[in-house]
């Protein structure tokens, strides 16, 4: 057990606060004692209402934010910074508008230990992987939301990371495009066999894609339930067991309506505080 436990993602007692000791100690606890293990090659979905800290958790795993208590390690190595071993896809595709689709994917390889030819091949391969042949030279504003998100997924994968972190990647897409991209993501996951962690507020999506569904409760963000999805892929959304599981997870949310409703004035801007993580503090200071 001691040797196998170091594989995959290991999250132990992670707590995170925003707003360091301002005024009267008014810090906001966004994550409270989160523990979770993710096996290599596993697909874990995390669902929760907005403000439950699920995106924050993802950012911590990515290494974008290292100011937290507890321990996060990937394959036995403590997360101290970002790494090319951990790819990330954001809800807003975040492609650089001044680069073409293929240049955007190439930009992810700038610090990859590859020769230029290998980089070009990797880009071409990942353009094909997300089915964007013919759009290599298009600029992000010329692409539809779904296509831009495909480019972002290719960019997240091009370094061949061991882990791909997905932060509500399909949240801004229309239902049809979302369903199509969910299938594509599943195909890519089955093909690449890498660990994926998907943060979403869509219970359907979480069950459709995940080996396990982690439900988080808000204020402070904590793990409420971890439900395995014992259904073979591709899954049928109308399968009675699918429906049953969805009912059960949705019931988790409706169990504490008071917390969301009664949290009146503070609640609103706590969630907006979550949207502006301390990156704003990051500047080129020398």
């Amino acid at each position: 057990m001691t040797t196998t436990v170091t594989e995959g993602i290991r999250i132990r007692g992670v707590s995170k606060r925003y707003g360091q000791q301002n005024d009267d100690g008014g810090t906001l606890l966004v994550l409270d004692d989160i523990s979770l293990d993710i096996a290599p090659g596993e697909f874990v979905s995390v669902v929760g209402a907005s403000g439950c800290g699920k995106s924050t958790l993802l950012r911590l795993i990515a290494g974008l934010d290292t100011d937290y208590r507890g321990e996060i390690s990937v394959d036995g190595e403590r997360v101290r910074d970002t790494s090319l071993e951990r790819g990330i896809v954001f809800q807003d595709h975040r492609l650089f508008p001044w680069l073409t689709a293929s240049q955007n994917i190439l930009a992810a390889l700038r610090n990859a230990p590859l020769k230029p030819k290998q980089k070009r091949d990797a880009v071409a391969e990942h353009v094909a992987l997300v089915g964007l042949e013919g759009f290599e030279d298009a600029y992000p504003h010329q692409l539809s939301g779904g296509m831009a998100q495909r480019v972002a997924i290719a960019r997240g994968l091009v370094n061949r990371p061991r882990v791909l972190l997905l932060d509500e990647p399909f949240g801004a897409l229309d239902a049809l495009t979302r369903a199509r991209l969910q299938n594509e993501l599943q195909r890519i996951w089955e093909r690449e066999r890498i660990t994926m962690m998907l943060v979403t507020h869509d219970v359907d999506e979480a069950i459709y894609l995940g080996d396990r569904v982690v439900t988080m409760a808000p204020r402070p963000g904590r793990v409420k339930r971890i439900a395995p999805v014992d259904l073979s892929r591709p899954r049928e959304r109308s399968d009675p067991r699918f429906v049953q599981l969805r009912e059960r997870i949705l019931a988790d949310f409706s169990e504490e309506p008071a917390r969301d409703g009664n949290d009146a004035p503070g609640g609103g801007h706590h969630t907006s505080a979550r949207q502006e993580p301390p990156v704003t503090e990051w500047r080129l200071a020398w």
Binding site: R94, A108, R110, V279, L284, W286
Partner: protein, 263 residues
């Protein structure tokens, strides 16, 4: 994109100048005003022809443009450096920032007495003045552009382990480019305006400004009007050039980020 190229020349813009010209022609042809203050278009055309033929126009215009170019280049280069320092470095912002913000508030022309004492009335003084005129917009827009880079792009670059230098070169600079262009565009316009100011206030040598002064001293309204027309057309050409370059460089940007540049 086709739309913006078409919009680049709209004949309707000529209505007002042509109407003014017609009115001017009419007034002088009908001798409605009998005064040396209003000369006829024919006189101005005649003066223009003489100025062009004698080489006076070429001399004056090239002297002015040479000043404009050197002041613009020096000032923009210094402005880029200063703006980048203010944008990238926290220390520079703390140390230079407040002084620069105060400096911006001082009217450019307030420097003329000081410049004339330090550098005389010759070309050096004029170029120093023009550099100042070009430096301010470039520095301010470069700094603002760097600060306005969305943190979400910085985060993406961090996820791909960009070094500080890579971040500056491949993320912040391209993201700030539209704003930097706005600064350079303004610098070109300001330095042309300042060229005239410099020639008018630091009177020595030749230039279009001196042509204007000569005209006014000799009470030759034809020469003054001719000078004004040359100044206006030159400014228009410079501005069109700058817009053309900007459009080419930023052509591939989406509308939103280009609009920021024009605003």
């Amino acid at each position: 994109m086709n739309r913006s190229i078409k919009a680049a020349f709209d004949w309707r813009g000529l209505v007002l100048p042509l109407a003014a010209f017609a009115l001017w022609w009419l007034i002088s042809a009908l001798h409605l005003v009998k005064s040396g203050l209003l000369v006829s278009p024919v006189d101005v055309a005649h003066t223009a022809w003489q100025q062009a033929k004698s080489g006076a126009l070429l001399r004056a215009l090239s002297a002015s443009l040479a000043r404009e170019a050197s002041g613009f280049l020096l000032g923009s280069a210094a402005g880029l450096l200063l703006g980048a320092a203010l944008g990238f470095s926290r220390i520079a912002r703390r140390v230079i920032g407040p002084t620069f913000d105060t400096f911006k508030q001082i009217s450019l022309f307030a420097w003329i007495p000081l410049i004339s004492v330090w550098f005389g009335l010759g070309d050096v003084a004029k170029v120093v003045f023009l550099s100042l005129a070009a430096l301010l917009p470039v520095a301010a827009h470069t700094c603002d552009g760097i600060h306005a880079v969305p943190p979400r792009y910085v985060e993406v670059a961090r996820a791909f382990r960009y070094s500080r230098l890579q971040m500056a070169r491949y993320v912040i600079l391209p993201a700030a480019l539209p704003s930097i262009f706005t600064g350079i565009y303004l610098a070109l316009i300001y330095s042309w305006l300042a060229t005239l100011g410099a020639e008018y206030l630091l009177v020595a040598g030749s230039g279009i400004g001196n042509t204007l002064i000569d005209g006014s001293e000799q009470f030759r309204m034809d020469l003054v009007l001719f000078g004004i027309i040359v100044v206006g057309l030159t400014g228009w050409v410079l501005s069109a050039l700058a817009r053309g370059v900007e459009r080419r460089v930023l052509a591939r940007r989406p509308r939103a980020s280009r609009e920021r540049a024009v605003a």
